[in-house]
């Protein structure tokens, strides 16, 4: 049996694309030649000050850079590395591990995460996801992707629209949601999770677990 191979002879596509063989991976960017936007620098430094070990700020710093640049671009990584005095290689290793750090350029204005995990799938997430994908077809400003459990199975099937949890959704809602998002309106206000009362009816009416008896 012949093993399918790419023209460069490897079974791995583009194995040689991401590497810049000229570059020293251990190099910490020189502050003199790496301009960092003041705002971003301030935000990263604020995060670094929160921890006993400044390296703990890696994820918050990468997310700040991502907000600034739209994705974890080589330039963004360089800037974080410059402020944190870490190597870009180390930061790249972290950025490629997590789901919320983007490693590819994308004109991202709006993000729609549709949960397709078990609880949502049981209630029709596949159809909802397809409907969203179809509704966003051809619109570069809206990025629709399926996501693993977002922790809102009580409103399954649900989606996180620019960080706002909404549900339960039906395939028919996709168009309304995306229209609202594009127009900058709040999304499906009556179905936002933050406004949903607790399911446990008894707890709603229950008085607060009493104050300490021996209150002095």
């Amino acid at each position: 049996m012949t093993v399918p191979r790419f023209s460069h002879g490897s079974r791995v596509p583009g194995w040689d694309e991401a590497v810049d063989l000229e570059k020293d991976p251990s190099e910490v960017p020189d502050p003199a030649t790496t301009p960092v936007p003041g705002e971003l620098r301030a935000e990263i430094e604020r995060h670094m000050a929160l921890y006993p070990d400044f390296r703990s700020a890696t994820i918050p710093a990468l997310r700040a850079a991502q907000r600034h640049h739209g994705w974890c671009s080589p330039q963004a990584i360089e800037q974080v590395a410059c402020v944190m005095r870490l190597t870009p290689a180390y930061l790249t290793s972290v950025a490629t591990f997590y789901d919320m750090t983007e490693n590819e350029p994308r004109p991202r204005h709006h993000e729609v995460f549709v949960c397709t995990n078990i609880s949502c799938s049981l209630r029709g997430a596949a159809e909802v996801f397809e409907a969203f994908r179809a509704a966003a077809e051809g619109d570069e400003r809206v990025h629709v992707r399926s996501f693993e459990c977002l922790g809102a199975c009580d409103v399954a099937p649900m989606a996180s629209v620019d960080g706002v949890y909404v549900g339960p959704l039906e395939p028919g809602d996709a168009r309304t949601v995306l229209d609202d998002v594009r127009a900058g309106r709040p999304v499906l206000e009556d179905r936002q999770l933050a406004r949903r009362p607790v399911a446990d009816e008894e707890a709603r009416a229950h008085p607060p677990a009493a104050a300490p008896e021996a209150r002095s």
Partner: protein, 426 residues
């Protein structure tokens, strides 16, 4: 009996004055007047077991933290990513001060001078609420003995595993560590670290208020207290419910959550999130507590019940489970990294009609090789539910394989999908 959820929908409960008006932070005041050992003893007496999944007694864990003046850390695990779990989100969003009070008390009890809440990145809006609440508490002078930081993750299920969480909190890739040493001895920044789930810590103020012995009277002998269960899937009223441990499971699935839609029956249910082995309808009469679930061959885990009714083929459930763990395996240990991937491939093969019933044996062989052979239990979390699906529904899976195969054989063979790669370059 409602403790954590009592009146949780009170407007503006996330503000400190509203929380204080209902007696909030009184337990902290009382705990600070006690010696750390007394507080630990009180927690120990309550028998409170960890609500994050493992069910380890919090009092014992707290007692493992060495005494002394070294830097000690308290980490609250708010990386709630288990499919089916959503209790911590509601607890933090609606009553953040209850958690902060619990953290402050636990920090005093163990002498931790720094505390972190590791919250998953997707819960950004909840983290904002927590941030505001921490600022309020600090301003009110309630956090003088501990520095509390809310740390946002960036989307990785594995970071809910305690040692992976520590690595992630140190700014690394979230890979689990070898245990021992346990975090209580060498955790965050190699210092002693107490890690507890949100619900566990949020319960602490109630234990101090009621007294450990009084709290232990709720629930069963070995599973004390109340527990928030998240019910989702095929039920009419999905959501979070606070129950006393030990009530019949049927009362939760049918009584509180309303059971499956009219005319349908429960086929299987996950008692503790998607990583717990599944149980069937006959197990619904078991009491819902740590030991009964373990005895039935499953686990209570994080208390997340996912109900699946008879309209869904078992293969689909297996596929969702395998797909999730394949995506979330961190890649450090080979049995998990490869095992999850091959399991998914085999389940998909069964569904496509390319498998024979013999493949079930091969798949079970893969599960056997995952269980217990990795640094953490992520691989086991896929292997156990898959194995349980095979155990309870072998006949249905065999039938599914045969039908799919027959269907496939009736249609002419399609040429295999074109690979992106070209045939041998030469």
């Amino acid at each position: 009996m409602k403790l954590l959820f009592a009146g949780i929908d009170e407007p503006d409960l996330d503000r400190i004055d509203v929380y204080r008006a209902r007696g909030g932070y009184e337990s902290l005041r009382r705990a600070l007047a006690m010696s750390p050992d007394e507080v630990v003893a009180e927690i120990d007496a309550s028998g409170l077991r960890g609500r994050g999944g493992a069910g380890f007694q919090m009092g014992k864990k707290a007692a493992f933290i060495p005494k002394g003046d070294m830097d000690k850390y308290l980490v609250c695990n708010a990386d709630e990513s288990e499919p089916g779990a959503f209790k911590d989100r509601e607890l933090m969003q609606k009553n953040p001060h209850q958690l902060i009070e619990g953290i402050a008390i636990a920090a005093h009890a163990t002498g931790c001078n720094r505390a972190f809440v590791y919250i998953r990145g997707e819960y950004d809006y909840v983290a904002d609420i927590l941030d505001a609440a921490v600022a309020e508490a600090r301003e009110a002078g309630l956090l003088q003995h501990v520095i509390l930081v809310v740390h946002r993750g960036a989307g990785a299920y594995i970071c809910g595993e305690e040692t992976a969480l520590l690595d992630s909190l140190e700014g690394k890739r979230g890979n689990p560590r070898l245990k021992p040493p346990f975090p209580a001895n060498q955790g965050l920044y190699q210092g002693p670290t107490l890690i507890n789930n949100v619900e566990t810590l949020a319960t602490v103020p109630h234990i101090i208020r009621m007294g450990g012995a009084e709290y232990a009277k709720i629930g069963t002998e070995t599973s004390t207290g109340t527990k928030i269960v998240s019910v989702s899937g095929h039920v009419q009223r999905p959501g979070n419910y606070e129950i006393e441990l030990g009530i019949p499971s049927r009362d939760i699935v049918y009584g509180l959550a309303g059971g499956p839609p009219e005319g349908r029956r429960v086929k299987l249910w996950f008692p503790g999130g998607s990583s717990a082995p599944v149980l069937t309808e006959e197990h619904l009469d078991l009491p819902y507590d740590f030991d009964s679930m373990a005895k039935a061959g499953s686990m209570l885990g994080s208390g997340s019940i996912i109900v699946v009714d008879e309209t869904v083929p078992v293969i689909d459930v297996a596929k969702w489970v395998a797909k999730f763990y394949t995506h979330e395996s961190c890649g450090k240990c080979t049995p998990c990294r490869e095992g999850t991937r091959w399991t998914l491939a085999m389940v998909e093969r069964m569904d496509r009609g390319e498998a024979t019933p013999m493949d079930i044996e091969i798949m079970s062989g893969v599960q056997e090789q995952i269980i217990g052979n990795c640094l953490c239990v992520l691989g086991d979390s896929m292997a156990m539910p898959i194995a349980s699906l095979v155990k309870h529904f072998r006949e249905e899976i065999e039938e599914h394989i045969e039908t799919a195969r027959a269907r496939r054989e009736r249609i002419p063979m399609e040429p295999p999908p074109r690979e992106r790669a070209t045939e041998a370059a030469a």
